[in-house]
């Protein structure tokens, strides 16, 4: 199997994989990165969102060959308990979930939004999260959390 290189959460890595294998499968089963979740396998729910070169993308239908030499960030790469991303702090502050299965993908969509638009309006946040499904009905809390993180990040 060919060795394929990419950056994962800031670190350069190389894996021997079938280039048609999906990024989600490689992350979860080969690399032990379980933040991105399987939801549908068809790129329709967003539970598997990861950032590829700063854009939120579904990883369940993304072949490995397409991430070669790209920069991949999962929810694990956003922050840690010790050094949380403002979005992670804000999701805790707003208690922005019920079951939380969709949250890792939503955090990624939100992080990608804040990279390209640091002070989004509420409508822009909703638009940016529109490809992510949440079944518990925690949408409004999540939108509030993203706006809270944005205003926190804007503070000097």
């Amino acid at each position: 199997m060919p060795s394929l290189q990419f950056r994962l959460n800031g670190a350069a890595i190389a894996v021997d994989v079938d280039p048609d294998q999906t990024l989600l499968d490689v992350l979860r089963s080969r690399l032990g990165v379980t933040g991105p979740h399987f939801g549908c396998g068809a790129g329709e729910c967003g539970a598997c969102h990861v950032m590829v070169d700063d854009r939120a993308m579904t990883s369940c239908d993304m072949p490995m060959w397409s991430v070669e030499n790209k920069d991949v960030v999962t929810v694990e790469g956003l922050g840690t308990m010790q050094q949380p991303h403002p979005l992670q702090r804000a999701f805790i502050a707003e208690q922005a979930m019920q079951c939380g299965y969709c949250v890792s993908g939503i955090l990624i969509s939100a992080a990608a939004l804040l990279k390209r638009n640091p002070s989004p309006t509420e409508a822009e946040v909703r638009e940016a999260l529109d490809r992510n499904l949440c079944r518990c009905g925690s949408h409004n809390r999540m939108v509030r959390a993203v706006l809270r993180a944005a205003s926190e990040m804007a503070e000097p």
Binding site: G41, I92, L133, R135, H139, R141
Partner: protein, 709 residues
Amino acid sequence: MISPAPKLPVSLVANPRLSSWVQFTDGGRVAISPGKVEIGQGIVTALAQIAADELDVDLGRIDMIRASTAMSPNEGVTSGSLSIQQSGRALRHACAEVRERFLAAASERLGVDAALLDIDDGTISGPGNVRTSYWELAGEVSLDRDATAGAPAKSPAGRALAGHSVPRVDIPDKVFARPRFIHDCALPGLLHGRVLRPDVSRAKLIALDEVATGAVPGLVAVVRDGSFAGVVADSEAAAEAALKILRKGATWSTGEPLPDEYDLAGFLKSQPVQTTVIDARTATSPKQAMRTLRRQYTRPYIAHASIAPSCAMARWEGDRVHVWTHSQGIYLLRADLAIVLKLPAESIIVEHMEGAGCYGHNAADDVALDAVLLAKAASGRPVRVQWSRHDEMSHAPFGAAMAIEIEADLDADNEIVGWRHAIWSNGHAARPGRAAQPALLAASEIENPYPRMISSNPPAANGGGGDRNSVPLYDDFPAWTITSHRLLTMPVRTSALRTLGAQGNLFAIESLIDEIAALRGEDPIAFRLRHLRDERAKDVIRVAAGRAQWKPQKRSGIGYGAGFARYKNTGAYCAAIAEIEGAEDIRVKRLTLAVDVGEAINPDGVVNQIEGGAIQATSWVLKERVRFDRTRITSVSWTDYPILRFSEVPAVDVEIIQRPEIEPVGAGEAAHGPVTAAIANAVYDCLGVRVRDLPITRDRIIAAAELAS
């Protein structure tokens, strides 16, 4: 007068041993073991609050133990908004008794009267600077004894945590992606399984070409047991690849026909049924009916549609099996597994791990049997099975379709003098562990299959099923008859979905109430208040109306509607006001709700449940409908079964009426019925059209308008 003997909470009667609920563990920790499970509703946090309050320990000392049949109390199923009522009361009582026992032991050791002792974060102290702790005394105080009815819990004023919005204990893990979901758990030596299921409804497997899968690297086994077939492999990718080949080489029978999805009422009303009169009231002085309104309402089959496909793991050791599951009822699942496997229940350990929100009986239990059957071929290695999105949307049970007919007799002033409510629906519950036959999908597929269990309805004492919330809450209706017709056939598999029949019944009742108020030229809020006597009911309506500034001035293209219920007629009170925008499509702009759950243990948790319920109900009302043709379920993806998206979600404003002196009840299902009716009534207010068939889509509005004209 003799006061009644104090009663133990039901869960404590069933599991009286104190040590099964509470243990003081090394390092100054407290282990709390509820029998109820976390399904994203925040129950674990609320129960921790209750325990910490009664024991006087910091919340941070409490370890909430995941339920397992190896050691946890058996609390049946985590459903029906009963966890706070059942587990909460049991824990409050058990902890109060534990506290009392330790105070007695401390009193003896310290030589101080127990009444003079105080507990602060587990340290017991008294006058003269004497002190000990739960952990110091743990060796002396045996909790291996049964609870008694004697120990009183604290009064509301004495509780430090209950009534406060304590942050949920599970959220940090989920934000930082620390493995917590069953889906993310990798047991050592884990293998992966996939099950082959037919597209055609109830087709039987006639032939299978197992040889072709041999070329898949990593394949461990192909399993076939009658119509049950699956693969085990060393990776998910290999299992998927093998399943694909297996599917190509499978021959199926023609299956069994499905009903006409365009005539659900016709189908439901033409089936053999079991008829039950749920409630009847005869007028003491019957009044003459001048006219009778006859209305029919329907709701479709609704999918649970969890974001995560159902998942389970199983590992055999000889003739014993260990199962990891996100089932809502570990003991009930074990009972069904014991039947299918022909094993004593003691040979099976069922352990809970969190899954995604399930909203009722989805495929969580089914996939557990799948994993157990496939793991038989794994030589003692654990096997993880995960369903596909397609199977999750087509083979899991659905919330039952309903046809509801109400006849309202009106007098000359259009006051209600008679009311007949009839329901045609499959049963709303086919959960495992409650019958002599198993309810698990694969049990109906194996070589010696069990018949597929026809869903039934819980008894009225438990809130009923298809009949849930069918008895009007308007106490002064002079006469009524409520009848439930439960189908004895079940071409589309149904089981418990949040609220069971309450959403459909409340849609019907509250729509017709709105219609009759309009006929009288009476404000629908005033109409409801005039017919209610329960002040808690009136309060939620008044508060919601006040918050929504009922009724805002009429504006073109905007409509307002109201809905009210007390869930199960005995649970939480909830009133909802909907503001909608009606143009090409219906858009719900704002929902304003007031709710009374008695004592709200964690107010933000209650608000979260009400917000979530309101948004999910909006999704059901505007979008959701299981689709099928005469042979198969056709809504098998998010494209075919759309749910509400971020850009479509209304603003939701919730007020809790706190009543700390009243025993708490659950909040998870209180909003669905009121919100459903409020949206339907707002559509009428906006467009002048009564839509009586859910979901309320553009096509349905056009059809209803044509029917009316």
